[in-house]
């Protein structure tokens, strides 16, 4: 816990998680540096999503430390962790289908838009200004992912690829420092993947840290600065894409089976 100035955005040390007698994660450690794209890969059931759920506070670790910018996240409720600057997207897209795109993004600004619900009836200049500013920011975020021209559309009517982009914009609306992406290209065709790769690069270039779980090897290898490999709840390799690609343990555990 005695963390002096952490050079890393997110630091995971000796984290374990078990459900009853089932050890899902054991002694997991890695560091996500600021301003980079970090990847966590591993076969199905290796425990990747559990790592995300621990970071975002949906689950509490059985052992170890999770620090964000030198501060422990353990025991914080999910909305507090969002407040610290971590946002996430979901493996199964969870946009709000019955709202338009602008509203979807504005929901993400909850922390920054607290004029109280009754402000609208008082119609104070302060709350109108806050609402206007939030709208402009939401439009800006939509334009980052190229959806600003669809701002009034119901989210339910978006294509799959666009829904994923909307999720990015909404996650960025929480003003995070680190964006967690849970299998961002799951179910996408190659051209959608290429577009999304650009979007993620853009997000990094705007100064956000990105940490993703992904199955698609080509996608991860092409995009990430560093990669950790999880197998049966343990980290078996960590390093640059080239280092990981040539690691014999990884080839045996993962890449060999990935041949498709």
């Amino acid at each position: 816990m005695n963390a002096p100035q952490q050079p890393n955005l997110l630091s995971i040390r000796n984290v374990g998680k078990h459900f009853g007698g089932l050890h899902v994660l054991q002694d997991v450690s890695f560091e996500v540096p600021a301003g980079s794209i970090y990847g966590l890969i591993g076969p199905n059931g290796a425990g990747k999503t559990t790592v995300f759920n621990l970071i975002t506070g949906l689950l509490t670790p059985s052992a170890g430390h999770i620090d964000f910018q030198g501060q422990s996240l353990i025991g914080l409720e999910p909305h507090r962790i969002t407040h610290q600057g971590i946002a996430r997207t979901f493996q199964n897209i969870r946009i709000f289908k019955e709202m338009d795109l602008l509203e979807n993004v504005m929901v993400g600004m909850h922390d920054h838009l607290n004029y109280g619900g009754f402000g609208i009836f008082l119609n104070s200049p302060a709350c109108r200004a806050a609402e206007k500013k939030a709208r402009e920011r939401a439009l800006e975020l939509l334009s980052w992912v190229g959806l600003d021209h669809k701002a009034d559309m119901l989210a339910d009517n978006l294509s799959y690829g666009d829904q994923r982009k909307l999720e990015f914009a909404r996650a960025l609306a929480t003003e995070p420092k680190l964006l967690l992406l849970d299998e961002p290209v799951a179910g996408m065709n190659p051209s959608e993947k290429t577009i999304l790769m650009e979007e993620i690069n853009n997000i990094r270039n705007r100064g956000y840290g990105v940490f993703m779980i992904e199955h698609d090897m080509r996608f991860v290898m092409g995009l990430c600065d560093r990669i950790a490999v999880l197998n049966f709840g343990r980290i078996i390799a960590e390093g640059t894409p080239d280092e990981v690609r040539n690691n014999p343990d990884v080839i045996e555990a993962y890449l060999g089976k990935e041949d498709e």
Binding site: H79, N92, R94, I95, F96, M99, V107, G108, H110
Partner: protein, 293 residues
């Protein structure tokens, strides 16, 4: 005297809508069918009566007081009953059964405190100034009831549609988990929703108590049945649906009582509901029955 009946129907229907609105709000946001809503309605009625007759409060103060009392009960139900069940991931039926228990407790408490006999508001507190519009005898009370119901509904609609609080509540209604991870204090909004919904139920109780001027510990039960019918007709969790459904039930009930049979009024109203549901099984505004946990 069709016009007279239409006025009665509008009065009754707008209170049904107000009652159903709180009911459907809790279902939409918390995903709980709160069967104590009828008892909370009854408590609102008694709370206003007690304030008027024991504290000599003016009627409008008693109305606000009743909303606070009912709202507080709604909040307590959420904190003491629903929250522990959420924390334990109880299946959907469990909170529903638990709220039946709350309803029984509240009804028994009212019976113990106020007795089982019918109580009435003192005549002198009723809004005065009846007048005739053509052939129709309009009571000031009816105007007040319709006005209060529609103002409260307009406030709720605006809140949900135009404010960040409303956006957050609609987000929770679609996916509490996603809302949580976007930094929304879901538990806090559950509490606020429970308070507001019960406050709407409580004021509906006051309005019905005034309209029929008869308050009993058991008045919540038939109202609960009507509330369930209204939100099923309107589409579970849908705000517009509660409004339209409430007005529909009010009109169906009053018109069938007036022109068909006074005993069969409820039967005809509920029969009509059944027919509509045969055609539209998920209600007038019902969304596809899907919900992501």
């Amino acid at each position: 005297m069709l016009e007279q009946q239409l006025l009665n129907a509008l009065t009754l229907g707008s209170v049904y809508a107000l009652f159903a609105l709180g009911f459907t709000l809790v279902f939409g946001v918390l995903a709980v069918i709160n069967l104590s809503h009828g008892a909370v309605f009854m408590v609102g009625s008694y709370a206003a009566l007690a304030m008027v007759s024991h504290l000599n409060a003016p009627l409008w103060v008693a109305m606000i007081g009743a909303m606070v009392v009912s709202g507080t009960i709604g909040l307590l139900v959420d904190v003491l009953v629903l929250k522990p069940l959420r924390a334990r991931n109880a299946p959907h039926l469990i909170p529903m059964i638990a709220t039946i228990g709350v309803g029984i407790m509240l009804t028994s408490a009212a019976q113990g405190i106020f007795g089982a006999e019918v109580l009435r508001f003192p005549e002198e507190i009723m809004p005065m100034g009846d007048f005739m519009v053509g052939e129709v005898h309009v009571r000031a009370l009816e105007i007040a009831i319709v006005a209060i119901a529609f103002v409260l509904m307009a406030v709720l609609f605006t809140l949900l549609k135009r404010t960040q609080l409303g956006r957050a509540l609609r987000a929770i209604a679609e996916s509490p988990k996603a809302a949580y991870l976007l930094g929304i204090n879901v538990e806090g909004l559950f509490h606020i929703t429970s308070f507001a919904a019960a406050a709407l139920g409580g004021i509906a109780g006051v309005l019905i108590g005034l309209n029929f001027n008869a308050i009993t510990p058991f008045m919540g039960q038939p109202m609960l049945h009507k509330g369930i019918a209204v939100i099923i007709l309107g589409g579970m969790g849908d705000i517009r649906g509660a409004l339209i459904g409430g007005l529909f039930l009010g009109f169906a009930e009053v018109i069938s009582k007036a022109y068909l049979s006074s005993q069969m009024g409820d039967a005809v109203a509920f029969g009509l509901l059944f027919l509509i549901l045969l055609v539209r099984p998920s209600g007038l505004f019902g969304r596809k029955l899907e919900r992501k946990a």
